[in-house]
């Protein structure tokens, strides 16, 4: 007879606060870095130089086809055999960023390809430099086109941060295991943990929808409302 009773979780809500903060910290940092690298890698994949393009393709295919757990184990436990010992946080951040960059690359690449070629030619005809071209014309359009996928990928990063407990980062999933092993109320603990992730992801969703309406002034970037 199992008595489901959330009362057992109350003494541990304090440590849950810190766990949520750790999750958010690593997720936000990884998202931010992977957006930057994703745009750069997308440009690499679309460049005119064959070997540069090949590097981009290799990176995306290798990292996308590898579970993040394996990547994390390679970075955290594998690199020390070559003398590179990274701290838990840096290993976790690297793995999460690498994985997310691969997906962001594809998101931005399809965004770039969706912008019509005529825009590039027109801008060059006007005498714009490359920087001006990208900054004022191309990137804003790419951003609008890939906005919905970006939101999904951010949620993917939050979910991916749950593996980081292997690299000794004390985030929400680690909190679930730690608390469960102290008080043995695993069902309550996992219920609360799941609820936390649900709330985090829905918040991202709501913010994305609201921001989308404000920035793009259309309902096209909106959500299920």
């Amino acid at each position: 007879m199992y008595n489901f009773n959330l009362f057992f979780i109350f003494p541990y809500l304090d440590s849950l606060q810190w766990a949520i903060w750790n999750t958010l910290q690593i997720s936000v940092t990884a998202t931010f870095l992977s957006i930057i690298f994703g745009v750069l890698m997308a440009l690499v994949r679309l460049s005119n130089y064959k070997y540069l393009r090949l590097c981009g393709v290799c990176y995306v295919e290798v990292v996308r086809n590898m579970p993040m757990v394996v990547l994390l184990y390679l970075i955290f436990f594998g690199l020390p055999s070559f003398g590179i010992v990274l701290s838990g946080y840096i290993s976790g951040l690297t793995a999460l960023t690498m994985n997310s960059t691969a997906f962001m690359t594809e998101i931005f690449r399809s965004g770039f390809m969706a912008v019509s070629k005529g825009q590039f030619e027109a801008a060059r005809a006007q005498g714009m430099t490359n920087t001006q071209l990208y900054r004022f014309i191309i990137l804003p359009q790419v951003f609008r086109i890939s906005y919905a996928s970006l939101g999904n990928q951010i949620i993917g990063v939050i979910m991916g941060s749950s593996i980081m407990m292997i690299a000794t980062i004390e985030e929400v999933t680690a909190w679930m295991f730690n608390t469960g092993s102290i008080n043995f109320r695993y069902f309550e603990v996992f219920f609360v943990g799941g609820l936390v992730y649900f709330v985090l992801c829905q918040t991202v969703n709501l913010v994305r929808n609201a921001l989308g309406k404000i920035i793009f002034k259309t309902a096209a970037a909106g959500g299920p409302w």
């Binding site: 007879m1 199992y2 008595n3 489901f4 436990f77 020390p80 055999s81 010992v85 838990g88 407990m165 292997i166 000794t168 004390e170 680690a174 295991f177 730690n178 469960g180 092993s181 102290i182 008080n183 043995f184 109320r185 695993y186 069902f187 219920f191 299920p224 409302w225």
Partner: protein, 270 residues
Amino acid sequence: MKNYILKLSSMIAASALVIATSAAFAEQRDILKEVTDRGVIHIATASDVPPYSTLGANGELQGFDIDMGKMIAAELGVKPEFSIVDGPGRITALQTGKADIVIQDFTANFKRSQSVSFTDPYVVVGMVFFTLAKRTEIKTLDDLNKESMKIGFGRGGSQETLVPAAAPKASIVKFAGMADTMEALDSGRIDATAIDNIAAAGFYAGNPGKYKELPGRYSREDIAIGVPKGDFQWWLLINSWVRDFNLSGKNDALYKKWFNAERPKIFEVY
């Protein structure tokens, strides 16, 4: 907006209903009857704690715990079926009925006894700290009790409360299991680790000269078989098996076989 709130509240209501009804349907189990009807006893154990249980080269589990499980199954006249679980898994396996007994270097204490039941102990161990032999500057626990020192162990064990009590100033690093912890110790990520003395001896035996143990035992832990809470008859049965195992000399023989030493006394003489 209204649509969204409606969807959200119906999702929450549905999940609450599922949880409530599942609790209501849980009833008194007769585990002995289930086991004999099935002809199989489900035993949950570990796979990375030598010599209690390890995965042999042919994929079969072997070890002290495994032999005990086979003996229990033979006495009951059923076949043993082992499943590998981790720290949290062994508890939920008992609570959900996936395992009938758990034999996994399982420490019995009062707090845990509120969720699962334990038999009498079959071996008594103490927690020890050990580190790489080449770390000559670490000689005793006082050398570890500094903020710059990192002590690591796997989640879900008794070390979670015992290590911070023994070395409050050291930093604690938690890993997914003992295998990961040993990997971290070897690569220098942590300075020391802690586990019970018999499991530690298992690691020393596998890697002669690589590790050195710090002096002192930092706990007295009763290792017992875990059974699900709520079926007294089952507990009585398994407990009487453990008593017979301890008193009849079967434990001495098995202990000698796997731990290579004479079995020490289990119960304190008051």
